[in-house]
Symmetry: C2
Subunit: 461 residues, 2 copies
């Protein structure tokens, strides 16, 4: 058609003018009121000069951002690893640090994602914006696989691009006025997102804590479950079980006490069950196994550590319709509004992967992967035990929590990195309660785990 | 190995206990201190009863969430469409409303994503956590494709799961103390995210505006570019060009005035260029074409409307290292901290798709898709023009902005839906400045566009 040709040409020329850098420069120059050369001179000066720029806006920096200590823990670990590699360019560095998965994703799952990708090139298979809360079949599969018999329906499931992202969206929904409790040690995203939202005071160097956060100490002495009789009432209680970093899983009795504690205080529990499938014994895999939990808890979880989705990005959060703010407004309604306004749903391809994970073949494939990592865990635990260290966790989680009494976590981290070229994570990075411990991740290829353990034995024999 | 077998069995049994709902119930019951039947009775009561629960937590609802008016615009449109379908179950409803893409994604792009999916099942091709800011090759390709000769480097590019998500992350980085200006009408995510972060006052029913937001009126009278002499100074200025919903693109001269205005006031421009590739004339495709913009502006963009990635989820934000807060702290450093703490990077499969989009074949495939939608736009514009309506936009954007002088946008929306079964978007949904207008999206299959135009001609002939 004439129209079609006419327009196609128009687009082709205009877009190519935009997209082809060579044409771009000239086309822009020809339309810039300043001469092309000058534009070039102004726009393309070398970086050193750029950094000398003295112009500042009049926008003051967010004071909450300024409260944050150093960088986020895991990028910090990555930086130290990079520095080490510069120092020892030939070192065979093994990373048991940030808890990143290493094993290939089972075919049955990647095939599901590849098929969805190809389908997006067909009229029947194409899909654009999905429901921000996730595709109905996936929400239903998550509800029936993980929460059947627990009174959780697909409408309570919010599919996301990961538990970490949902934690921040929950903080945005809660706002800056709420108070917060965390296990000490705990996954740093809870505290950092709380600081960013302005829920806390300043960082107190002397005790290594932020003001206005309740740190619930979890140590070998209390079996890594806080003494609730000493915990102050807060609006929100972050609780992760099986725990990152200590690797310990709370028992049914302990979780009943936690739910009662929340109910007595009118608190909301944000329960992180991202490692639930690593539980080997009869400890609960979901907070919703505890009677009454739906009125005081929501739960966030992830495919990352089950299917190797750390890069694919897929998780979910359960917000029961029974969970209400003090005025009776459902927490789920505000969270849904946040999901609709600040998020646009997880990638449809990742969601197809999630659906494949929950097929019978996908579930047994995930069990295989989890089983492999649990074997790694046992190898690491045996190694440190044989060296006379007190080791915790491991049984119900992919993390081994090794005690170095009286020593600084960062010193031990550096010693291990310097002498064995193995990256771990310093326990104090998870809070002052982690001081004296190092977290060793079981995510790694088997030969790397075995080699790392050989090196540990040489260093600490 | 014995170890392997031993553990595999352990996992299989424990996991199957978790994953198989039937076993689950019993295994849980056997470990619950309350009798199984009672647990069942308590946990599995029917939903009606559950909803009668009167327990409320003592956590007060976020007052900022309570300020939000109704639902987010586009889910609201979807609800009205669903209601209409219930009323007319046999109606062939055509949606030109929420601006969702409809054409299949070109093979060259989906193949790239499928290949990446399959590769995740191989040792060499597997990848876990990526850099939160995006994969280096994609950051480099975005910089060289869209910003070459503009002094923007790959280190200034932050890859994301979409511009909408980045807008909220930017708001979290800015915090609650900043003041905000938006075009009126404008994409609702700017205002709603500002309300959620507590940057605004209450909604003022009488004028349809939130207190403390500066609404920059954009009408046919001022050529859809605000009269900056009447605009109050704010910290942040959201500016979208080509504009959603009006479809108008700012000229180079206008953007120079905007940059000067920001510089004079020490403001930061958040420039939304999600429709830049729809520009047919010589208007700028990036704010960074304007000399000096890097010191006062950042830019957010997306693959959604170029490659049909509304469901795949991939975008980016450019935060130049030259952009500084009043204390000299780089905005990019705080944004990077937010990206590391509240986000974990876009899906690696979506990023492979983005890289395919920016290959020579991908670029020409995107041009084809954009050209197709621009033909749709011309058909819609011709239709309303022939009916005697004043139509705006279209030329540089996939949106046609139709004027219905003296009428309520929602009334016109309802009239069109009721009488033609075509879903549009009421202009007032984008702000009070949109009252009396309706936005017609050009995203649709050709036959649907032609059929919708036939129905418009019948209704308004």
């Amino acid at each position: 058609m004439a129209l079609q040709n006419h327009l196609s040409t128009a687009i082709a020329s205009s877009s190519s003018a935009f997209l082809a850098p060579s044409n771009l420069g000239s086309s822009r120059a020809s339309n810039a009121s300043v001469p092309a050369k000058k534009t070039g001179a102004v726009r393309c000066v070398a970086v050193p000069h750029e950094e000398k720029t003295t112009y500042k806006t009049k926008v003051s920096r967010n004071a909450n951002m300024a409260k944050l200590q150093a960088g986020y823990l895991f990028p910090e670990i990555a930086r130290r690893k990079a520095t080490h590699l510069q120092k020892y360019p030939d070192a065979k560095v093994i990373s048991l640090g940030i808890g990143d998965t290493t094993e290939p994703i089972p075919d049955v799952i990647t095939s599901g994602m590849a098929k969805r990708s190809y389908a997006l090139s067909t009229l029947e298979g194409y899909s654009g914006y999905g429901a921000e809360q996730g595709e109905k079949p996936l929400r239903a599969a998550i509800a029936s696989t993980f929460y059947r018999d627990l009174g959780i329906g697909e409408e309570d499931i919010f599919v996301s691009d990961g538990a970490k992202c949902d934690i921040s969206r929950l903080q945005v929904a809660f706002g800056s006025h709420v108070t917060m409790a965390v296990q000490d040690p705990s996954y740093p995203a809870y505290v950092d997102s709380s600081v960013i939202m302005g829920q806390t005071g300043l960082f107190q160097e002397d005790i290594g804590k932020y003001a206005k956060i309740e740190y619930m100490k979890c140590t070998p002495e209390n079996g890594f479950f806080p003494d609730l009789s000493t915990v102050a009432r807060t609006d929100i209680i972050f609780f992760c079980s099986p725990n990152n970093p200590t690797g310990s899983a709370a028992t049914r009795e302990q979780l009943k006490r936690l739910v009662k504690f929340a109910k007595d205080n009118g608190s909301i529990i944000v329960y992180d069950s991202a490692y639930a499938l690593y539980v080997s014994d009869d400890n609960p895999r979901s907070i919703f196994e505890i009677p009454g939990a739906k009125e005081v808890a929501l739960e966030t979880s992830s495919f990352s550590k089950y299917a190797g989705f750390t890069g694919v990005r897929l998780g979910w959060t359960v917000v029961p319709k029974e969970l209400l703010f003090s005025d009776g407004f459902p927490v789920a309604k505000d969270f849904s509004r946040i999901v609709c306004t600040c998020f646009n749903g997880a990638s449809n391809i990742a969601q197809a992967g999630g659906l494949a994970c929950l097929s019978p073949e996908g579930l047994s494939a995930m069990r295989e992967v989890i089983g492999f990592y649990k074997e790694n865990t046992e190898i690491i635990m045996d190694t440190f035990s044989s060296l006379g260290f007190k080791v915790y966790g491991g049984k119900n989680a992919p993390y081994v929590w090794v005690h170095f009494p009286g020593r600084s976590s960062w010193d031990v981290f550096s010693e291990i990195l310097e002498k064995t070229h193995v990256v771990t994570t310093p326990g104090s990075g998870f809070g002052p309660g982690g001081e004296g411990f190092v977290r060793v991740s079981a995510f790694g290829h088997r030969d790397n785990i075995l080699e790392a353990c050989r090196r540990f034995k040489q260093l600490y024999k």
